[in-house]
């Protein structure tokens, strides 16, 4: 079952050479922006010499290119960071390296993780692992595709509103978004600080639990990390009560997505769990909350990219204001600029109460409604995305249409609760479909154990 186990106890150099070969053979998917070949081979040799040991000794992996890591630039798929060589590594990368894992490359994403398809990458989109005419999903699209293509047994991503779960669903892999604060974000390019989380892509739940076990934990370099709480557990609770969110099961959702979700429900029932329809009407408003709160926060986080201390600086400018304005105009993609400007708008005096404050109050209503459901139900579920992967270019002309792909994933982000997308079969035309499971904050271990038990069912 475990793919990671296949790499343990083998020649690390062979593991890395093979993974790099697979990466190069699959270049047409454009899942990776840069390989960290030289450093990966050096580290592999150190593992083979016994200088580095650990639970992931010699296991190759990939990180989304918004994680600061050595061996290649950290671009966030943007022009403004195109040549940025990180002076430090993300805590999550450091923790994996301390266990002997070897990063072989940096995965493509929507620039600064703004998007749901990787079509906002400044370097071109990644292609879906199952259909090259369709999107990889996003923003962590490259990480999902390298996992689905078995280039590496696991990859890291970040999830602000669905950026792990949506591409996991589109590429038929397991995507884990833990409780907000579980994994340190030190060394990861910030987007929306109140919802950004770090998580994993794997082909099975157990591998994801292992990765999470290693990267989770309090980090004094990230003051928003929670005290250590996550520890995988062997067996899921028997006879769980599961709520199927009926607003996510309307006839507007793709028929095959509904069918696969209902089949998953039947599997849960057959395994002795109770599944009932529940109503969460406020989800009609969560996307609007999200597209106020997130632009507000990212407009502030992206203010640091100014062409002064690092990153792209426009040439031939005469004044400081021109330097800022032109460097940022040249360095950001359209979606970055759109979101920054929306953020500036909703935070500006006169609009703050109507937009930002109202959205944060609405967020409280969402959290209250979820808490109420969690008094009765252990887990809430539904499809991960309303449709299988859409066609490249299908939604690029209309930003709102693109945002709609996040509608089922943003509630867990706004509430900070753990959620994962697990493969639930395919459409008739062979496109993967995912089901999303959500649980109360800090009950990640129970949630993952349930998902794992269903793989075996």
């Amino acid at each position: 079952m475990s793919k990671i186990a296949d790499f343990i106890g083998k020649s690390a150099r062979q593991n890395v050479v093979d993974a790099l070969k697979r990466a190069k053979e699959n270049e047409q998917y454009h899942a990776l922006l840069n390989l960290t070949e030289e450093r990966a081979l050096e580290r592999a040799d150190a593992v083979d010499r016994g200088e580095i040991t650990g639970r992931l000794a010699g296991v190759p992996f990939v990180v989304k290119d918004n994680f600061l890591a050595y061996g290649a630039p950290t671009t966030a798929a943007s022009k403004i960071l195109e040549n940025f060589n990180a002076p430090l590594q993300a805590t999550a990368v450091e923790k994996l390296e301390a266990e002997g894992a070897i990063c072989i490359g940096k995965a493509n994403l929507d620039a600064f993780a703004h998007g749901g398809s990787t079509e906002n990458s400044a370097f071109g989109p990644s292609l879906n692992a199952y259909d090259k005419t369709r999107v990889a999903g996003g923003s962590s699209g490259g990480s999902a595709v390298v996992t689905a293509l078995d280039i590496v047994p696991f990859a890291l991503g970040s999830d602000t509103g669905g950026s792990i779960r949506e591409p996991a669903s589109f590429n038929g892999v397991v995507g884990i978004k833990p409780t907000y604060g579980t994994v340190s974000r030190y060394g990861v390019v910030a987007m929306a600080s109140s919802t950004d989380v770090i998580g994993s892509f794997t082909t099975n739940v157990a591998d994801g639990e292992l990765v999470m076990d290693i990267i989770a934990g309090l980090d004094r370099k990230d003051m928003t990390t929670l005290p250590d709480f996550f520890k995988p557990i062997d067996t899921a609770k028997k006879g769980q009560k599961i709520g199927l969110i009926k607003e996510f099961m309307t006839d507007g959702v793709d028929d095959e997505v509904l069918a696969r979700t209902n089949e998953y429900v039947e599997k849960l029932r057959a395994a002795g769990h109770t599944v009932e329809e529940v109503s969460l009407p406020i989800v009609a408003h969560t996307l609007a909350m999200y597209y106020i709160i997130v632009p507000a926060e990212l407009s502030s986080n992206l203010a640091r990219y100014d062409g002064i201390r690092y990153g792209h600086r426009a040439e031939g400018v005469k004044t400081l204001a021109e330097l800022y304005g032109r460097s940022r105009d040249e360095g950001f993609v359209t979606e970055n600029k759109r979101r920054i400007m929306i953020g500036s708008y909703v935070l500006s005096s006169g609009f703050f109460d109507a937009y930002y404050l109202q959205a944060q109050k609405a967020r409280t209503l969402l959290i209250n409604d979820l808490n109420k459901l969690f008094e009765t139900y252990d887990v809430l579920m539904g499809p991960t995305v309303p449709t299988p992967a859409f066609k490249l270019g299908e939604n690029t002309g209309d930003p709102i249409k693109m945002y709609l792909a996040d509608i089922m994933t943003v509630p867990a982000s706004l509430a900070g609760i753990p959620a994962l997308s697990v493969p639930a079969g395919k459409s008739a035309s062979g496109l993967p479909i995912g089901v999303q499971l959500m649980a109360p904050r800090r009950s990640d271990a129970q949630l993952f154990a349930l998902a794992r038990s269903m793989e075996e069912a």
Binding site: P87, L88, R134, Y180, G181, S194, R220, K221, M223, T224, L226, T250, G252, V253, D254, D255, A284, H285, M289, Y291, S299, A303, D306, I308, Y310, G311, H312, L320, Y324, G325, R328, D329, T334, K337, R338, M341, I342, G343, S344, Y345, A354, Y355, Q358, A359, Q360, A362, R363, T364, L365, T387, A389, E394, N395, D398, P399, I400, L404, A405, G416, S429
Partner: protein, 119 residues
């Protein structure tokens, strides 16, 4: 198989302004230019035109939140319930040295980052 999400939403929530934008939030070209200035973005004329449409549509979409009754509801600004995370007041270089950081700057001279004239 349907992968177009628009009809799904129409069926699900019947959003105002979806599809046919017939009462979009009016945001003027000057507003967009002002926003660009606030955001330190020097946009081209084409970009300003496109932003005027997109930002107007997005604001129209998020305006639905005004329908929610939030009187007496406290805002949620963060999710950890953590308060006052302290650390000892001791200098830590985080393993980063000055030369590496200065080397990242597009232009520098004698360990200082160069910028154009401010005034």
């Amino acid at each position: 198989m349907r992968t177009n999400i628009a009809p799904y939403l129409g069926a699900m929530f019947s959003f105002r302004g979806w599809g046919i934008i017939d009462y979009m939030t009016q945001i003027s070209r000057d507003d967009v230019q002002h926003l660009a200035q606030l955001s330190a973005l020097q946009l081209s004329d084409d970009e300003i035109d496109n932003m005027q449409t997109d930002i107007g549509n997005i604001l129209e979409y998020v305006n639905q939140l005004s329908e929610l009754d939030t009187s007496g509801v406290e805002p949620t600004y963060q999710l950890t319930d953590l308060e006052n995370v302290w650390r000892a007041d001791v200098v830590d270089d985080y393993g980063i040295n000055r030369d590496d950081l200065i080397a990242l700057a597009p232009d520098s001279d004698k360990n200082q980052i160069k910028v154009p004239k401010v005034l």
